[in-house]
Amino acid sequence: MNDMLRQIEPLIPALRRYARTLLRDRAGADDLVQDCLERAVNHWSQRRDDDPRAWIFTILHNLAITRLRSSASRPRHIAIDDAQEETFARAPSQEDGLRYRELLEAVARLPEDQKSVLLLATVEGLSYAETAGVLGVPIGTVMSRLSRARERLLKERDGDRGAQPVAQLRRVK
């Protein structure tokens, strides 16, 4: 169990980040990570790979999906503005804070399957193959979801710019 402590403990901050970004609920996400760690402790001897990172993200992801599905049927009402302050840490500057917030809102609007891929592959630094393993899908599916997520975020960003007053003044022939 000492090797478990050594290998899993450094991953806990990343697990919290992934859970919180998926659930958008700080306390709920930490409960989920606790649940995940307890399962990991109970099943440590049954893991297969030498790299425990993909293994523990798989446990967490499955718990998160179960939680999201069950809360979708009985939604919890969190006002987004209240939740944001609590859920995401403050950015270093106000301008950054605004940009971060816009981006996180756009990420939150992504379909759940695209969001998972984007977070695992770009934020948590899992390889595409590991991401495919965590989600239980072929690697081609990971690539197409990643592609769609990135395209959509770019479009939203450009769409926001297009909506600015300057653009509306452009004359149409």
């Binding site: 403050r90 770009t122 393993g133």
Partner: protein, 260 residues
Amino acid sequence: MSGRPITEEDLHGFVDGVLAPDRIVEVQAYLDTHPDAAQRIAGYAGQRSMLRAALAPIAEEPLPPNLDLARMIAQRSRPRPISRRALAAAAVVLLALGIAGGWTLRGPILAPQEGIAAVAQEAADNYAVYAPDKQRPVELRAADRAELVAWTAQRLGRPVAVPDLAASGYRFMGGRIVSTAHGPAALFMYDNDRGTRLVMLARVMQGADQNASMTPHGSGSINGFAWADNGLGYSVVGPAAPDALHPIANDVRRQLSRNI
């Protein structure tokens, strides 16, 4: 230059920094001559670093007390402390039970299980022994399927087909002959992409339950479904919820009944 065409996957790999050094050079050369792609990739890269920066503070927060892994591990390996009084009370109850039970039963205490209840127990026992095995979960691998089927037929005196569970996401790993209180049994093992293993145990029924409808068994995380058809008893066991396991067991039964 390898001359291999640049793929969409290369472009994402470039953004995520997972390409081999010489491929990076090739992608860079491509982007230098394709400004549209270069602009898109710059957009992705900007998004990526902004998203990482926006979410980095969460990983820097101090951990809350309920995520103390060292304590979780300690709690698991050490039984919870029990008060002296509770211990004394338990001793009294156990003593009373022992006396009463010993007097009442006076005969064989554990009635040996029969029928598919026994098959269920044997499958669960063999699952517990072989499924967690890292060295040698199966004696004959999937590649030696023909040999395994022949071995099974010889030891059981009846052929048992290998069900195909690909539709449920499980691959056939292989199998072995195992011993049970009711003679030899075939144990086939499957796993999925997440490393979850299932077993199917089959053996000849002796006496009761030559045919029996499907019955769930198991407790907690390991579950199973047992049944018997034409004198062969089966059980499918795995660490899945009964809801998830039931359709797999039905599929196995359907395939096996087709082969009889």
